[in-house]
């Protein structure tokens, strides 16, 4: 039990064969009371959620809802070892995300034919993919863009490492090969297993992130359009997004998607609302760039999953539509600047500065916290946070309205992760080394998501470039959503082996090297 950073033996909280930890951390009186107050807040959010009978009904209808029992533990996993400003930054982000997800779930179940069956509400719903920039919704203030996949698979796996296994198995039982990316595979499995809410005036599916997403959507649309009668528009975002000669195609796709939504919902695009959202996107971009600038110094402040998870949510799912995220950004920035001025650090020792590249093992997002606490490896930034920095036009003029289509197209093409895994080898391979230089990194932690063919296909080139640049390249293989292929300990072992055999170092916290979290959420 320790107030100071890095004094706790964090591994001692785990018990063999247990789902949960033995207790929460003692972080000193002030930080513990703060953490406790945020826990109370989460409990209150959850209580409000289950106070509605339809949400309880949904709990019993949808298998993936069981994972939401683990919400407080997800927060615990991401706050492990944190104190002071870092703890507060994490809570600002996580608590806001939890609130936002609770609203998403509530909306889904409200319109779901099987649960709330609010038909009038459902007519105002546009279903969007999880792996899709929601830029096309930025001009529809009266419509709700809701994602079914986000709560059923994406967030579920954040909460419970095994959340997707059942759905992966369902898809494979139906004949899907086991080597495809488990994310669209699980999403397809949810659809096949009749475990997706049914609502909405229409759906916008997108080919992002990748081939798998695009094809998985085909499985989903079979049921969605042909059986449930919800018309689907497939939004095609060009792969070669850095090329000028695809931008008109991309912009026209946006125009077509907007026209489709207008046609199916009867609502009209609102430019005022769009430009308000665009302003918020620009604010988020500026803040993110500010944090990244700090991370280039000796005193990085917003990094690890504090950066990764929040960027994914704010950039992609929110995309300027929720003002609360602007306020959160301001608070995070204030805390970061405060800690930066005081030259604070989030671990007792920073041994290595790392760029985390590739697609993270989603069932082990708190791995970034583990890197820091166990080995003193600071994950300065990650591939999914190195997204578009382009400023969108904000002023409502005829020229800007035309430019706005290209801006929305740009955002859609530059969806998280996809902006690097597609678009040519420069964005995936070459730019990594530029970031290493900018961030003064001596290490790259390269997530090798084994089913991500776009990334795996550059394996040899990554090695060659790492040798050329003299950067330690640590491969960490995993299968994204399926811990049965590589477990969390399997992930840790890859780092442990490298740090001991190549770097010849001892861990900062030896209790974290081997954790009995096989059964854990």
């Amino acid at each position: 039990m320790a107030k100071e950073i890095g004094k706790d033996r964090l591994g001692d909280f785990f018990a063999e064969g247990s789902r949960v930890r033995s207790r929460r951390e003692w972080r000193g009186l002030k930080d513990t009371l703060y953490d406790y107050s945020r826990w109370l807040g989460i409990m209150f959010t959850l209580a409000k959620f289950v106070a509605k009978p339809r949400n309880v009904k949904a709990m019993f209808r949808y298998r993936w809802m069981a994972n939401y029992l683990a919400v407080p533990m997800m927060v615990d996993r991401h706050t492990q070892g944190l104190r002071g400003e870092y703890l507060r930054i994490c809570h600002i982000e996580q608590d806001l995300i939890i609130e936002d997800v609770a609203k998403l779930l509530d909306s889904l179940f409200r319109g779901d034919r099987r649960i709330g069956n609010d038909e009038e509400f459902s007519k105002k719903v546009v279903l969007v993919d999880e792996n899709e920039m929601t830029a096309v919704m930025m001009g529809f203030p009266t419509l709700k863009g809701l994602s079914r996949e986000t709560p059923s698979t994406y967030i579920s796996v954040l909460l419970n490492q095994r959340a997707a296994c059942h759905y992966i198995d369902v898809a494979q039982q139906f004949g899907l090969a086991g080597d495809v990316c488990p994310m669209p595979e699980a999403e397809a499995g949810v659809s096949i297993d009749d475990d997706a809410p049914v609502l909405g005036a229409c759906a916008i599916q997108c080919n992002t992130t990748c081939d798998g997403s695009m094809l998985g959507n085909g499985v989903i649309s079979m049921r969605l359009e042909l059986k449930d009668g919800i018309p689907c528009f497939q939004l095609a975002a060009p792969l070669r997004h850095r090329e000028d000669d695809v931008q008109e195609y991309a912009a026209q796709e946006i125009r077509n998607a907007i026209a489709f939504i207008e046609d199916k919902t009867g609502e009209k695009w609102d430019w005022n609302y769009y430009f308000e959202c665009a302003k918020r996107v620009n604010i988020a971009t500026k803040n993110r760039l500010n944090w990244l600038e700090m991370n280039k110094t000796d005193y990085p402040q917003v990094f690890g999953s504090n950066l990764a998870l929040y960027t994914e949510t704010n950039y992609m799912a929110i995309c300027g539509k929720v003002p609360a995220f602007v306020k959160a950004d301001e608070k995070i920035t204030a805390l970061a600047e405060q800690a930066y001025k005081a030259k604070k650090r989030a671990a007792k020792e920073y041994r290595h500065r790392a760029i985390v590249w590739g697609v993270q093992s989603h069932f082990y997002m708190d791995f970034l916290a583990w890197l820091l606490n166990c080995w003193g490896i600071v994950p300065l930034t990650d591939m999914l946070s190195m997204v578009s920095t382009r400023e969108l036009v904000e002023e409502d003029t005829p020229e800007n309205r035309e430019q706005a289509y290209y801006d929305m197209a740009w955002l859609t093409e530059n969806m998280i992760m996809r902006n690097r895994t597609h678009g040519g080898y420069k964005v995936l391979l070459d730019e990594l080394w530029e970031f290493c230089e900018e961030f003064n990194a001596d290490m790259v932690i390269l997530w090798e998501h084994m089913s991500c063919k776009a990334l795996d296909g550059m394996h040899g080139q990554f090695e060659a470039k790492a040798r050329e640049h003299g950067i330690h390249l640590v491969w960490v293989s995993h299968d994204l959503f399926d811990p049965r292929v590589v477990s969390r300990q399997g992930v840790r072992e890859q780092i442990n082996n490298y740090m001991r055999t190549v770097m010849r170092e001892e861990p900062l916290d030896p209790t974290l090297e081997v954790l009995p979290d096989e059964e854990s959420w």
């Binding site: 789902r19 930890r21 029992l69 407080p72 297993d193």
Partner: protein, 52 residues
């Protein structure tokens, strides 16, 4: 009237004691981990329209 603040204080204290105990010893997660298998059993026995 003067007893009310005392009662409130005691209630608040009790609330804090109970909730902080639940929080610190992770009793909330320990409880929900016991509920999960019951839910899984329920889902496994539910009829479903499984098709493409």
């Amino acid at each position: 009237m003067s007893k009310l603040p005392l009662k409130l204080l005691m209630a608040g204290g009790a609330f804090f004691a109970v909730t902080f105990t639940v929080y610190f010893f992770n009793l909330d997660m320990k409880l929900t981990s016991k509920i999960e298998p019951l839910l899984i059993k329920h889902y496994d026995t539910m009829p479903r329209n499984t098709y493409l």
